[in-house]
Symmetry: C2
Subunit: 331 residues, 2 copies
Amino acid sequence: MESSRIDVLGIGNAIVDVLVRINDDFLTDRDLAKGSMQLIDADRALALYGAIGGATEVSGGSAANTVVGVSALGGAATYIGKVGDDELGRFFAKDLRAAGVAFHTRPTTDGAPTARSFVLVSPDAQRTMCTFLGASVGIEPDDVIEADVAAARVVYLEGYLWDAPRACATFARAAALARQHCRRVAFTLSDPFCVARHREDFLRLVREDVDILFANEAEITALYQVDDFDHALQRVRGHCDIAALTRSERGSVVLSRAEVHMIDAHPAGAVVDTTGAGDLYAGGFLAGLTAGRDLGTCGRLGSLAAGEVIGHLGARPAADLAALAAPLLRP
Amino acid sequence: MESSRIDVLGIGNAIVDVLVRINDDFLTDRDLAKGSMQLIDADRALALYGAIGGATEVSGGSAANTVVGVSALGGAATYIGKVGDDELGRFFAKDLRAAGVAFHTRPTTDGAPTARSFVLVSPDAQRTMCTFLGASVGIEPDDVIEADVAAARVVYLEGYLWDAPRACATFARAAALARQHCRRVAFTLSDPFCVARHREDFLRLVREDVDILFANEAEITALYQVDDFDHALQRVRGHCDIAALTRSERGSVVLSRAEVHMIDAHPAGAVVDTTGAGDLYAGGFLAGLTAGRDLGTCGRLGSLAAGEVIGHLGARPAADLAALAAPLLRP
């Protein structure tokens, strides 16, 4: 195996989050299913901009949040994703680099604006997302740099990516290069609606290409079309080397062929905004895995990182994750 | 293997429950740790009788509750336990037989009264037990009938039994006969305080004699002296063929060498009295196992039986468990 100067190479939709606190009526008035992510077009995005009051713009994107978590925990992280050649795109790149993540993907040149996701945070801390994909869907196979894959212990891809027209080819190139260089492929199912949009593809990926799978309960039961978590668990075992399945306040389960771990949710204070919980769980987990930690510790790192991010608005860590994680990593 | 006319042979302390609804002050005034079981002597039992108002007497005993659950789900069950030669003892025997459980153990002849447990039910449905063991501790090796063990698919013993002076010898005889007749030994840790009283013995049993282990989170972490459920899980794997670990409203985990199942708690209405939840979980599980069901179904049967019993006062099923379970058992 070649040397790995990258612990985690994340590939996903590069998105700036527009955070808005709303009440439940805002969702019902617009027929938005609480907790889901739905795609919107440019017109709908403009209409939403008009309807909201004060908003906060922060860099987001699922896999980008994950690699920021990896970096915060001391891992070397690189990101591949497509922004527009605009102010928001430069903002996104600056934030990533400030978080210690390498980011070199060229912006689109077709004038498409940087993607934005309206993250509508309800009083109960649930988040509902309306995403205008803009420039992010311009990602294509050539954006996956062979040297990056060759240098990465884990190549991490988000299911959301599948909403881009050239995602399939991009994913295929990343997976093929990973195989060729003996690198591991990690994948998150992202969202139950995303699973519904691409179920056949995701099933094939999980069976054939994915070494490490991340999913929450709604996503994994949607993938296997079963109504019970345990039935999904039986299906996923044997499909991937490692599956890390999250269940919100019920914690998570980490399965490998030989092991099973049940990880408690990290005791958090008040839950303010659940955006990024799954992203940071994956970030903590992969930071542990690429540092050679045992699977139980990986799960606890994931739980800790997720517990931190739900305690404040926004999907990137606000506290010093490495300091929080230190007690877990004592010999 | 010989034919099995008994599915589950339960061995335990034969106890009549004295159910009393109390408020939390009743516990704090008497220094009773909520949720625990503590042993009391005859004088303390008399004092408690004096302090309580209206009480309901119902047949109880952990393993007895379990075999009643087995019988309610259509399994053939037999019980071994020691009552006194008194009114309460005859009441206990009548209830067991009415529930379809075979019961032939001779009462004590030394005048010791039938054991009773004051089950103090708090407004939050937690129960605290004060048990006067009386005649129940008179159990001895000769009470274990070889023909019963030879005829039983599973011999089920409760940890509480260990508070009887001849328990060790009784358990040893039951386990030896089970081995000799190729029968499986199941064991419940019963209570974290009981684990604390007999930890070294229980560790040895779990390693050497027990095929199927039942424990809740407090008990299994007490057994291995770890502060985290996942660490206990790693320790118990490999010690027993099957471990069924319950976590109250978080459901249960069923582990075998090859399988893992995560079972949700059964959706119940209001929780009225948690007495017997663990007993009935074991009853449902063993009814499934001895009927040849897969481990996931066994766990779901346990969860269902536990969910029923916490919905009313008392530790024996009030509803028709077999009817409730029918949807789980459809092909």
